[in-house]
Symmetry: C2
Subunit: 181 residues, 2 copies
DNA sequence: AAGTGCAATGTTACAGGGTAACGTCATGCC
DNA sequence: GGCATGACGTTACCCTGTAACATTGCACTT
């Protein structure tokens, strides 16, 4: 589903609410790609053609894409790509902080703050699959005391909220039905 | 991997630390099964033979089991079970709060507080797959303000910390190697 | 230029996770 | 008995992910 946003006021790209609000998405996507390219150059990472293409595909919308969705898009380009091609590019982007894996969906989104070291949380719309990336250090931090008490060493925290985005809530009200797709 | 716990002091069953600490697991498992059975009786839910068997399988250890692991165990009983059999039983247990799905692992564990309405967080050992269930209302609550600000309606929050449990940390130190399996 | 090493890509083949759809069976209710 | 409902049995399939190995391209050395 494309990024429709009929109601909310415009927000700047990079804002957590951007995924669910009207914004200049062309600029939003271009910025993400440029920032990623710059970060790669600075850190000696090779943003190859395939990797850049996969990033561009993810940047096209704020909806999470499965690896096979990405693979299909690569094939539409005329490539005869096999699954590892998509997974390798996605791994590169995720490992280096240019994209995120959404565990709940087994899917991927472009990062809203590429290159930054951050502890993201996600708001996932179960109706349109769009995902908003938020900074939520408090959520992860809330686990530290308990981890310490039991001697558990935390390496990574997944925080994913599932629900319904403002647009899909509005659609549901209009049709008088439930919010499910 | 079985529930080894060579170091920590005993803890009561139901304690968040139980998964990673020495405890009377036979009693821990029996309690979970009994509490679940009672909750089903009270709420008019049918804890059928298959469902009870799947719960018992999950209760055998604090390690997360994949649906196909459960399926294999069912087949060892002599059943000729197909995947939907395992998934239906697991769905029943998860929906009614008697088991949890660990998104990070695509796997399942028995609930430590069956029947209670709670907002669990999980500590997942990436080495032995054991999972400790914690109460972490603060983690989920930390997202509410941002969700409200963007008009997102949260229905469920997944909080999963991945890392290394005390036992596996100790093992890693002994062998002088990394913590990976 | 030839040689070497490494990172990335190409390709095959398969393992693991999950579900739609339909038929059958048991249970409880009128 | 007749009926509705929920659980189970079974088939067939789709989606997700990876091991393993071949090949290519690039950078750096000698």
């Amino acid at each position: 589903m494309p990024d429709r946003a009929p109601v909310a006021a415009p927000v700047p790209a990079g804002d957590p609410a951007a995924a669910f609000a009207r914004h200049d998405h062309a600029r939003c996507a271009a910025t993400a790609r440029e920032v990623t390219a710059r970060a790669c150059a600075e850190r000696g990472l090779r943003l190859t053609e395939i990797r850049a293409r996969v990033l561009a595909i993810l940047c096209e919308s704020h909806a999470a894409l499965g690896a096979y969705d990405v693979l299909d898009r690569l094939r539409e380009d005329g490539r005869k790509a096999q699954p590892p091609v998509a997974y390798r590019a996605l791994d590169f982007l995720v490992v280096n902080g240019f994209a995120h894996r959404i565990e709940r969906l087994n899917a991927y989104i472009a990062c809203g703050h590429p290159g930054d070291d951050h502890a993201p949380a996600f708001m996932i719309c179960r109706s349109c699959r769009r995902v908003a990336e938020c900074a939520a250090p408090a959520a992860a931090a809330a686990l530290s005391p308990q981890a310490a008490a039991m001697g558990f060493e935390i390496e990574r925290v997944v925080v994913e909220a599932e629900g319904v985005c403002p647009d899909c809530r509005a659609s549901a009200r209009e049709t008088g039905g439930e919010t499910g797709a």
